[in-house]
Amino acid sequence: MRQPLVIFTILLTTMCFNQGVFSQTTEGGLTDLDLDFKIEEVEKKPYSVNADIEAKETIRFLDQDALLFKQKYLDKKQEDTIWQTDLDLTIEGQYQKDTIKLYGRFNGLFYYNDDEKWESEEKAEEAYISFQPSFSLAIDAGKKVHKWGKGYAFSPSAFFSRPKDLDDPDATLEGYYSLSADYIKSMEGVIKTIAITPVLMPVTRELNDEISSEDEVIWGGKFYFFAFDTDMDFMFLISDAMDNRFGMDFSKNLSPSLEIHGDAAWVQTYQQYIIDEYGNTSEQGSTAFSLLLGLRYLSSRDTTYIFEYYRNGQGYSAQEYENYLALIENGFDQYLNTSNQSLISKSKTYAAHYNQQAAMRNYLYLKISQKDPFDILYFVPAITVVYNMQDQSASITPQFTYTPFTNFAIDLKTGVLLGESKTEYGEKINTAKVVLSIKYYF
């Protein structure tokens, strides 16, 4: 058994045994209830610190025939699986004094895998100062996440944030450095609330350099309205180097068990980088329109359905994507025949565009989760399907989450990718993966 797996197992066992120390289980049940107890949290402190630690073991089952495997490894990797052990610590803290609040969330990741051995990453996901002179106004400066849009799995109108991880849409994101404000006004009448959120985002070589290629100040904003029991947002982003963006979203409950939502986004003069099967490159410029329509339904049996249709206006057509995969195939043949890697190298220069999640145009997303089945309390099995409508390939992810004790969660996720050759999910590096994680909050 590998060393990291041993460490993972020891951690899991230790955390499970320790649970007896910190759990709030009472043998006597009701008789132990102190009905006159005080709530300690009533005493407010100016600061607070929270943390969670997660141990995760991932097994990736590689598809050596997949084109993205060949693009990454050529013929230099013989193993069928990659194991990775992650130890992930997140610390969140805040300090508030009168109208000033300091907030920070820091993440340290220590991981081991067959390719990289032991590595570590540290980052400040968020770190900002907030000035709140009144209930209506707040001004924030620093590294902050601006999560816009109503989509669960996809967020085409989240102009000032990094893309979500389709495998874990609820995961925290790393913010960008920005100066933003929040002005809220409540009123009587049809429109109950409005909120205005202007954002300034500087881009330099040292700051937010992932966003834009030029030094500039990107600006934009979001206008929120709550009217007719419906949430509505209108947002925009203006930039010299990037494409200007405009968007809107909405969300509404149609019944006690049914919610609908939608996002729309327009990216002006969007430049799409295209490469064909011979490595010839071109650019296409046009307005890209993205659309998301979704619903969330809770059945009488406590089954939650989240369904979304996503049209990615910045995605590739079936032919364009197939050409890219054909380029990798040609490049691999060229390498085998001549040891020349020029075509494979060319394909790699476009990998950031083509290999990203949801790189094509039309997707369906469905997540079904069941609360407490078979009378097992705090157990939630779920299954998630992401279906590429253009090439009929799919990702299917069964998941089991169990929170047997306070502040303790166990999660088992298994993902399977299905698709013919020259399809998005059919040519991914992995054919399947299993992820077991345990998380403790303190």
Binding site: L35, V42, E92, K101, T172, D229, S255, L298, T406
Partner: protein, 244 residues
Amino acid sequence: MKKIMIMVLLGLFSSMTAFALDGNEILKQVDRNLNPESFEMYRKLINIEPDGTKKEFVMFSLKKGKEKIASVFLSPASEKGRGTLRIGENMWLYIPNVGKPLRITSLQSVTGGVFNNSDIMRVDYNSEYNCEKIETTDKGYTLYLKARLKNVAYETLTMFIDSQKLLPYKIEAYAASGMLIKNLYFKEIKDFGNGIIRPSIIETDSPLYKGYKSYIVFANVKKRELPSEIFSLNYMHKIDGLRQ
């Protein structure tokens, strides 16, 4: 024969008294006795499983008017920072990891256990229910309430009221099908100061969750004038900052 005549007369008198009472006015008074129109409070939610295992959550909540309530979870650590907001029939949940409010429904439960979101984000009963019938009993009144709105968790409520204190001691909650969903028991009346005297514990059980019990324990219930702006999506992640 005399006995029968007396019983009939007593019955008639009893129904006439009940007829003269305005159930909705009583309901309004019950709402005001349970809490001021604008106030803050701390609550501990306790879910107890049949084997005695206990899960606890502590929330700080603010309520304004008949239909606005906002809360933030203070513990346990896994839930800390989660916020809930209700404006009328609309409910949202803010999860710090997710970083934006999501719409939720009254039938879901942000804490698990027998309490659902409607119980946890309780607004005035009078804003959600209309009294269709009132009866007098030995202890006080029984109000038969029917939902005014379509998005409520319970189609009808039967509220048992102590007529001396004008406070409920039991509520039976029914689905549209007539099925009993849960019982709520109001216990341990406590003086919170400034004229707020109300039950400090709500206990619930449900025929749907046999053996399970949930409690809400109230603390530091006090009047507070609040601006409407804090009951908005953009303010949900800042509710903790309003604790004094």
